[in-house]
């Protein structure tokens, strides 16, 4: 056991080691922020690449921890996303007094997500879910001197606790009605028509829905994104969302397979509601962080469309979409981070005429928004295409039409921002903003990701092959 334990949990172990290392940094002489950032970046890169080597299939701790190639890829995406967040927010991070704590919290959450993805029973799942969300509430509150930041942290922890309560209630009902918490043995105990199990499942499902910001369990999202520091908001919108979407897929499709009928209804209702409400609210937002919050809600709605497929095609489409979404959304948040950091401005009006003095930022934002809107030839187009194609195998035609129409509506608000950047006149457009070359590197990686992920066909083929 000992040997395979190290191999199969190699990603978790590196992150744990890194957390301890950061704790040690706090003990001795103060370590400069540059050193912390370098160490964390290298460790994250290492973690990202670790998934591609060595044994990928296995079980540990009597099935509490399971892993397979797809899970490794998912974890790798999350670690890569955190790495990109480090790059894109380099200027903000460097200024922080308590940088090591920041990373200890963020990496703990990441560790929680890794364990959550690999969890093999409901208890393990619940514990790791909490591990992945409580540190984030602290992170949302990280800018202690700002009231909005505290408000965000407070709202996050309260809502999160409420949702966890519901989720735990659901889990207890599941356990009560089936007598097991093992994912492997649950499907055999579930029965399609059992009202108690349906209620338990709905409670469990809505707990998930909260973490994913599915309507009507999404209200915390915009308030938290707006108040939280930009790196935390981007972590929430990409890494947290991605991790929960991965395990959500796994549980909904495999563990609750006997309740597939209920899943189908839940997903169709909630997907439509989420896409429409996300779109409707995104239209009005003046604050870019709130705007991106609602845009990410609408994007989650599209993920649900893919989950609807219920087979490997859907899984591949969702993983691929998260990969694309990761680059696009991080790029958009990256621009917001640079500008907020330099000028403190974050409303759409401030972005009018941005292109005039900040060519690269203008382009990065525009391409990221194009990708989020799903305009070809950016990867976002292919992401949406695969999701909708996967969903169309199961869903009714009317459903797909509504989804597609909403795709058109979403163009409206994404392009509104692009228009502001490129075309709108502004008496005093933003001055040229300075930012370090590390940030530039991050943006270029994102741009390359947005373009290449779509153009290189075998990426999707590879994901499909391991799904």
């Amino acid at each position: 056991m000992a040997y395979s334990f190290f191999i199969q949990m190699r990603m978790e172990l590196v992150i744990t080691g890194l957390i301890f290392l950061l704790l040690f940094f706090k003990l001795g002489k103060p370590v400069s922020n540059e050193v912390v950032l370098t160490v964390v970046s290298i460790a994250l890169l290492l973690t990202t690449s670790l998934s591609f080597f060595g044994e990928q299939e296995g079980r540990q701790f009597a099935g509490m921890f399971v892993t397979n190639p797809l899970m490794f890829l998912q974890k790798s995406l999350l670690a890569g996303a955190v790495y990109l967040i480090c790059l894109l927010n380099y200027d903000w991070l460097r200024k922080q007094e308590h940088l090591a704590e920041f990373f200890i919290l963020m990496l703990s959450a990441l560790l929680g997500m890794f364990l959550m993805i690999s969890s093999g029973n409901l208890l393990m799942f619940y514990l790791s879910l909490e591990l992945s969300s409580i540190p984030v509430a602290a992170l949302a509150n990280f800018e202690l001197q700002k009231r909005t930041s505290s408000e965000a942290g407070m709202k996050m922890i309260l809502s999160s606790a409420f949702a966890s309560g519901i989720l735990l209630f659901g889990i207890s009902l599941v356990y009560g009605s089936t007598g097991t918490i093992q994912f492997a043995s649950l499907p055999a105990q579930l029965q399609a028509g059992d009202a108690l199990q349906i209620v338990a499942y709905i409670l469990f499902f809505t707990g998930f829905a909260f973490k994913l910001s599915v309507v009507p369990f999404h209200f915390w999202t915009a308030d938290v994104y707006e108040g939280a520091p930009v790196p935390v908001a981007s972590f929430l919108s990409v890494v947290s969302k991605g991790a929960v979407a991965f395990i959500f897929m796994n549980i909904v499709m495999k563990v609750f397979l006997p309740l597939g009928n209920i899943t189908y209804h839940l997903l169709t209702i909630l997907a439509i509601a989420t896409i429409i409400v996300g779109n409707l609210f995104a239209v009005r937002q003046k604050n870019l962080k709130r705007f991106l919050a609602f845009s990410s809600i609408a994007q989650v709605g599209f993920i649900l469309v893919g989950v609807l497929n219920g087979s490997t095609l859907g899984i591949a489409a969702v993983v691929y979409f998260v990969l694309v979404y990761l680059f696009s959304n991080l790029a958009a948040f990256g621009v917001v981070s640079v500008i907020t950091n330099a000028t403190g401005k974050e409303s759409v009006d401030d972005y009018k005429g941005l292109y005039k003095n900040n060519k690269l930022l203008g382009w990065v934002m525009a391409i990221a928004l194009f990708s989020l809107a799903g305009i070809p030839p950016t990867a976002g187009f292919f992401g949406k295409l695969f999701l909708i194609m996967a969903g169309a195998t199961q869903a009714s035609l009317g459903f797909i039409v509504i989804v597609a129409l909403n795709l058109v509506v979403s163009l409206f608000y994404y392009l509104r921002v692009v228009r502001a950047i490129f075309m709108d006149n502004n008496e005093q457009p933003l001055e040229k903003v300075n930012y370090s070359s590390v940030v530039k590197l991050g943006m270029i990686i994102c741009l390359a990701g947005i373009v290449l992920t779509g153009l290189i066909g075998w990426i999707y083929e590879y994901i499909l092959s391991i799904s």
Partner: protein, 644 residues
């Protein structure tokens, strides 16, 4: 296989030239861009000659029949099994012949431009465009797939557009470029539909498969294509007519010819390459490429024959009245392409009747030589006198001896004077017409007389007429060695290309076609040619009053010919008055009010609704929890009680 490598290089070297000069021309190569482009093209030309030689004398001929060779073929886009767009290289008699023509003329033009375009501001760009054109044209002739042809066909159109509009700060050049592009694009629409029709019925885009399926009378594809009928014509006929429409647009056949005279706004070497020797014959090449299919439909062949013959006559008449020397040559080109077209139209698909095909290709070959020569010679003249107008010229034979001599050879060749290249190919065309259709033969005979007349009208007006006098004595002479060398080489071609036993190599079915020359048959055309030349000597050798009087006495006829029979005005009337008002306006209104209105309404109502519901997002956590619970209860009610 070395043939594959060489053939691929023929296409890729010009592409490399385009990329090099297009990307780095201005920064790195500068004034040496021309040399870089020419050097690359020299290699291409040598390879083309080598490949053509290998094909004609080593590999192609199997038991007396020339077989098509495909050195390279790969699937590029597969729609369904069996239906794919392939990319490949095709060697057969006509593609090898075109290789020689395109690369040779292009090389001549490259060399000539070293002198002609020297000192131009956008010199590297010019050579980049030339390379792009050469790449596209070579790709076009080597295509194995009809869709591949279409792609290169459009690329050729784009490079033509770029080169016509090369002097982009000249309004007339811009207008001409746009006109050429729009007119040929319009024709290409027909071509595209034609391709779709043919490929729909044959279920393939590969040319050889398509020909095989659409020519075997027992095949299913052929039966359905002939059986399907639309407005009285079979689907096959429609497909071929539409494909021909594309060809007619590129080859400036009436009534799609209007762009060609205006295209003379481009630099003169470009006119020689694109609008005389290579691109404009692409239409002829296209019909020849699909000739076996065309020969299945006598209606279409007749149509082609009449369009070609009419264009030949029509353009020749206009050419007699033009005073811009490049426009005379442009109409002459249109007229000569008319010859090639109707030669295909009167051709049949048996060894007795197949003369027209060979003759058409033969004329394409010789015409490329003498017409490129005429354009380059005209370029030298224009270079010298700084004007396109005949009235500014005259008496140039002493000043420009080499240009004069080579121009004279080309004029004699195009007029059909015996022993020069044009004579042989034109005789074959006339013979083919004579065997098939006397009306067309009559038109062609008359036109050949007109041709001799207008060419010598041009010649005498440039080189004889009055003594040359100019306010500014030209500071440069005839043009240096680089401009004279292509003239001399092309003059050799124009003089002797006719001695190639063409029928031996190029025929519709690959078998040698024995041409027989009958001296008695040649009497009429030669006599007419001499009469035309004689009339030109009488009228134009010395400046005099006679031409003016004659044109005055012809009155309305002369005027309408001078104004190109008002075709341009008719087009303008149709597009501006009819199309814009009757179709475009209502369409624009519909688009602006209905379509945009619906989109705006969707946007506005979204904004309105989102305004109404924004109160829900209150910022109070306890309210959020309430919504949360409400959501759960709603879902439970729905799923446990309603949809159970």
């Amino acid at each position: 296989m070395e043939l594959t490598t060489y053939t691929a290089l023929i296409v890729l070297l010009p592409l490399l030239g385009y990329l090099l000069l297009g990307l780095f021309g201005k920064k790195i190569f500068g004034n040496s861009s021309g040399l870089v482009g020419t050097a690359l093209l020299l290699v291409t030309t040598i390879l083309s000659f080598y490949v053509a030689y290998t094909y004609f004398f080593v590999l192609g001929n199997v038991n007396g029949v020339y077989q098509a060779i495909k050195p390279l073929q790969f699937t590029w886009l597969e729609f369904s099994p069996g239906m794919s767009i392939d990319m490949g290289l095709l060697l057969d008699p006509i593609s090898c012949m075109m290789l020689v023509v395109v690369s040779f003329v292009s090389l001549m033009v490259h060399i000539y431009s070293l002198g002609y375009m020297k000192g131009e501001e956008r010199y590297p760009t010019y050579y980049a465009h030339l390379a792009l054109f050469t790449f596209s044209m070579l790709g076009l002739v080597l295509s194995t797939n009809i869709f591949q042809i279409y792609m290169f066909w459009e690329l050729v159109g784009v490079s033509s557009f770029l080169l016509i509009g090369f002097y982009y700060n000249k309004a007339s050049a811009l207008a001409a470029a746009k006109k050429a592009f729009i007119v040929t694009r319009f024709a290409d629409l027909g071509f595209l539909i034609g391709i779709l029709v043919l490929s729909f019925y044959s279920n393939t885009l590969d040319i050889s498969t398509l020909i095989q399926r659409l020519t075997s009378p027992d095949g299913n594809e052929m039966k359905t294509a002939v059986a399907a009928s639309f407005m009285g014509l079979s689907a096959l006929t429609w497909g071929l007519l539409l494909v021909f429409m594309g060809g007619a647009g590129k080859s400036a056949m009436f009534p799609l010819h209007i762009w060609l005279p205006d295209a003379m706004e481009g630099p003169t070497p470009v006119s020689a390459l694109i609008h005389a020797a290579t691109m404009v014959v692409a239409g002829v090449y296209l019909v020849a490429r699909l000739f076996p299919v065309f020969s299945m439909s006598p209606i279409v062949l007749d149509f082609i024959a009449y369009v070609g013959a009419f264009s030949a006559l029509f353009a020749a008449i206009i050419a007699c009245t033009q005073t811009d020397i490049k426009r005379v040559l442009a109409y002459s080109t249109m007229s000569q392409i008319g010859y090639m077209m109707f030669a295909l139209g009167v051709s049949g698909n048996t060894s007795e009747t197949g003369l027209g095909f060979t003759a058409s290709m033969f004329h394409l070959f010789t015409h490329a030589m003498f017409k490129a020569l005429l354009f380059l010679g005209a370029g030298a003249v224009i270079h010298y006198v700084h004007s396109n107008e005949m009235k500014d010229m005259g008496g140039l034979r002493k000043k420009m001896p080499i240009t004069h001599l080579t121009f004279l050879i080309a004029c004699l060749a195009i007029a059909g004077v015996p022993l020069l290249s044009g004579f042989f190919s034109k005789e074959e065309i006339l013979l083919a017409a004579y065997q098939k259709n006397m009306l067309i033969y009559g038109i062609a005979l008359f036109t050949s007389g007109l041709t001799a007349f207008y060419m010598f009208r041009l010649y005498f007006n440039i080189f004889w007429s009055k003594p040359y006098e100019s306010a500014h004595e030209s500071h440069h002479g005839e043009g240096g060695f680089v401009m004279m060398l292509p003239l001399v080489l092309l003059a050799i071609g124009a003089a002797f290309a006719g001695y190639i036993p063409f029928g031996k190599y190029v025929s519709f079915n690959g078998e040698a076609h024995e041409g027989h020359m009958d001296i008695m048959f040649s009497i009429a055309p030669v006599a007419l040619a001499i009469a035309g030349i004689g009339l030109a000597i009488f009228l134009y050798k010395k400046e005099n009053e006679k031409p003016g009087k004659i044109s005055a006495s012809l009155g309305a006829l002369y005027n309408s010919a001078y104004h190109k029979f008002y075709i341009d005005e008719i087009y303008l009337f149709i597009t501006k008055k009819v199309l814009f008002n009757v179709i475009a306006r209502p369409a624009a209104w519909f688009d602006k009010n209905i379509i945009d209105g619906m989109v705006n309404m969707a946007g506005d109502s979204t904004v309105w609704i989102s305004g109404k519901i924004k109160g829900i997002q209150s910022g109070k956590v306890q309210q959020y929890a309430l919504y949360f619970m409400a959501g759960i209860i709603g879902l439970v009610l729905l799923l446990v009680y309603v949809w159970k």
